[in-house]
């Protein structure tokens, strides 16, 4: 194949420009602004602004509720990522084997994807409602009193359950297409070598799915950290109270709701650094062990 080449350096830059401008305006500029305002105490109207050095950061380290949110975010992210990946993988492997009515099954498994996070949260609110929720009543029949918004871990479980439910279809679609991309010849060869379905899965299918899995891992971590905002906000009825909160939700609570621009900026800078570290770690260490075909 002939390599495409540009005669002049100006042309590719021109082509890149729209994308770069968008990134600069919507990402770099606000990010730089957040870093800057994290060093200031500022009134909401922007009349006064006092330089406070690292005070916004040091206060975070000492705030128990921030540390609690950090711990909860870790637990939440690990559980949501783990369950949405494993359940989706299980469903994909099973759906891959279905021959009759395959399309119907797949569509049914995918359509939750179309639900917006706040709507998913609202469905969660209805299912887990203290007095009228179907799941609350179901659990009550086993003698467990599920109290959304009162009991910390009940609320956390509801958040995790709804977030997982909402994310499974995305993972399912990717896993299914990953499975279908595995060449038939490889499967048949494996079938001759090994009769056990389980070990065939772990020896052949799983490693071949690894690139998809790695991609999904990153997508799911990002989802748990950021995109679950709407679900959390709806489930806690916009009242932080003593409810479990993620770091992103706290940025909103302190900055948007509370008007503490400096403190909230410091939180988003911390979050930015955490995500950066996480991404570097993933690409450096995990990706090395994955083989792309």
């Amino acid at each position: 194949m002939k390599r495409a080449a540009f005669g002049h350096i100006g042309f590719p830059i021109l082509l890149l420009l729209p994308q770069l401008v968008i990134i600069a305006i919507f990402f770099y500029w606000p990010a730089a602004y957040a870093v800057q305002s994290s060093f200031y105490a500022q009134d909401m109207f922007g009349f006064t602004s006092t330089f406070v050095g690292l005070e916004n950061y040091t206060r975070l380290a000492g705030a128990t509720n921030y540390v609690n949110a950090l711990n909860f975010t870790v637990i939440f992210t690990v559980l949501v990522t783990f369950f949405s990946l494993t359940i989706a993988l299980l469903l994909a492997v099973k759906a891959d084997k279905v021959i009759r009515g395959a399309k119907t099954y797949r569509t049914l498994l995918m359509w939750v994807y179309a639900i917006a996070p706040p709507v998913a949260g609202l469905i969660g609110v209805m299912l887990f409602d203290q007095s009228r929720g179907n799941l609350t009543q179901f659990l009550a029949s086993f003698g467990y009193e599920f109290r959304l918004g009162v009991n910390y871990w009940d609320t956390a479980s509801a958040m995790i359950a709804v977030s997982v439910w909402k994310q499974i279809p995305v993972n399912f679609i990717f896993f299914l297409s990953g499975l279908q991309a595995i060449p038939r010849s490889v499967r048949e060869a494996a079938l001759i070598d090994n009769r056990s379905g389980t070990s065939r899965f772990w020896d052949i299918t799983f490693p071949l799915l690894a690139p998809t899995g790695f991609f999904l891992l990153i997508i799911n971590i990002t989802y748990s950290l950021f995109d679950t905002f709407g679900i959390i906000d709806t489930l806690v009825k916009s009242e932080p109270g003593n409810n479990p909160l993620t770091l992103v939700y706290r940025v909103y609570v302190d900055g948007f709701r509370g008007g503490d621009l400096g403190g909230s900026s410091a939180q988003s800078v911390v979050l930015m650094i955490l995500v950066l570290i996480l991404t570097i770690v993933q690409f450096r260490f995990l990706e090395r062990r994955i083989h792309y075909t």
């Binding site: 109207f45 009228r132 109270g241 003593n242 509370g258 503490d260």
Partner: protein, 434 residues
């Protein structure tokens, strides 16, 4: 609506009004009243626009109270602020603290030749949105106060009357209602009902600097023995089945009352209309109970809800339009319409009298309780409070109260944390004010 239809509609409207439109001053009003309340706001504005020919007011719904305030501030920073913005009680310190962002309503009205006498307003309404000199900064709009609603059928079945004091509740009303098969009590907003208004009802000082009105270096005085005893009582009542707590969400606590499981519920005087629409049983309301052990002369509560602020940065013509709307809003007709449609209290004594003459309270006695409570004798600490970062302070209270009621913290621990964290927030707010 697509841009194209907006443009063509705008064009059509422009053509229809023609020359007349050019002489009219157009101003904008951002509010946080959704649903049915939003409809009533639109009606109110339409009535104003129809009442005169010089000004056209456009109402814009901007979401929750927090969202409305934040959008207005962001717009102000960009020089695109609305003429009028609705700001809720907890956000008052932010807006009033930013001198130069708003024009005090009292000043705006007198500059535009509208007569203003603060004595025309109902006692509990006058000074919440005022500065330390008693000058009104924000025009009270949707004003409410916490009252006790009760299921009259339940109380009759238990053979008791609605309690006046918490002692009466603990000794007589509560146990009798448990006997009759009800959960006696629930409430919907611990910081508002059982903290801010608890201090006002018992005339206790809530914060230094005259509850925060006289200065920015304010310290909260929430860690008071009377309120600690109150929360200890709540925790005990919860244990004994006299009180139930359903989380921080407002509706989660109101629903069991409407479902007839809870016999008495503390909510907003503005909740009246909604309850009347939804419940099957007979209900009524009475004033917020008080502790006889704390005071034998209970005082008034102050208003919650929100006020309208005139934002600065407009020419005299537009400010005159804003003043005209505020003047209209204060009129008896507008107040009576707003009060009877929504359940929020009327803000002037004239409107209160007019609603009474129309027989509104003969038909709905419960609709009058809030006004009566706001008109009780005042005390030194009953005008309200003015504290910065107050939304976050309320969040801290909600978190710690939750910990008390789920047994994670003792009353003493929780109040110590509230005091410490609230004072840190107040200190930081003072820092942001330069």
């Amino acid at each position: 609506m697509t841009l194209k239809t907006t443009l063509s509609l705008g064009l059509a409207a422009g053509l229809m009004t023609g020359a007349a439109a050019q002489a009219q001053t157009e101003i904008e009003f951002w509010h946080a009243m959704g649903g049915q309340l939003g409809e009533t706001v639109n009606q109110l504005v339409a009535d104003f626009n129809a009442s005169q020919g010089d000004y056209v007011l456009t109402p814009v719904f901007k979401g929750t109270y927090e969202e409305t305030l934040t959008s207005a501030i962001a717009a102000f920073r960009a020089g695109e602020q609305p003429n009028i913005v609705q700001v809720f009680d907890a956000g008052a310190a932010t807006v009033i603290g930013a001198q130069g962002a708003t024009i005090p309503v009292q000043q705006l009205l007198s500059e535009n030749g509208v007569e203003f006498d603060i004595e025309d307003y109902i006692a509990g309404v006058r000074y919440f949105y005022a500065d330390s000199d008693g000058q009104m900064i924000g025009m009270p709009f949707n004003s409410s106060t916490p009252i006790l609603y009760y299921n009259a059928d339940a109380l009759e079945a238990a053979g008791v009357e609605a309690p006046t004091t918490w002692e009466e509740f603990a000794e007589t009303t509560g146990p009798a209602l448990v006997e009759a098969g009800y959960i006696p009590l629930a409430q919907s907003h611990l910081p508002w009902i059982f903290t801010e208004n608890f201090f006002s009802r018992h005339n206790l000082q809530f914060a230094s600097n005259n509850n925060g009105y006289d200065g920015i270096d304010t310290e909260i005085m929430v860690n008071h023995p009377a309120i600690r005893a109150h929360f200890q009582a709540l925790a005990d009542w919860q244990e004994e089945g006299l009180f139930s707590w359903y989380g921080t969400g407002w509706g989660d606590n109101q629903n069991p009352f409407e479902a007839g499981e809870v016999a008495m519920w503390l909510g907003s005087s503005g909740s009246f209309g909604g309850i009347a629409d939804r419940v099957e049983f007979n209900f009524s309301a009475t004033m917020l109970p008080y502790w006889e052990a704390v005071t034998t002369e209970p005082t008034q509560t102050f208003i919650g809800g929100a006020a309208l602020f005139a934002m600065s940065g407009f020419d005299a013509e537009e400010n005159a339009a804003t003043a005209a709307f505020f003047d209209y809003l204060d009129s008896v007709d507008a107040q009576v319409m707003w009060h009877t449609e929504t359940g929020y209290v009327p803000i002037t004594t004239a409107a209160y009298a007019a609603a009474g003459e129309q027989g509104h309270y003969d038909e709905f006695p419960a609709a009058e309780v809030g006004i009566q409570q706001l008109s009780l004798p005042a005390g030194d600490y009953t005008r309200g409070y003015r504290m910065g970062f107050y939304v976050q302070i309320r969040d801290v209270m909600n978190r710690e109260y939750s910990r008390i009621l789920t047994g994670e913290a003792t009353v003493e621990e929780a109040f110590e944390i509230i005091e410490t964290e609230a004072n840190e927030l107040l200190e930081r707010f003072a820092q942001t004010q330069g």
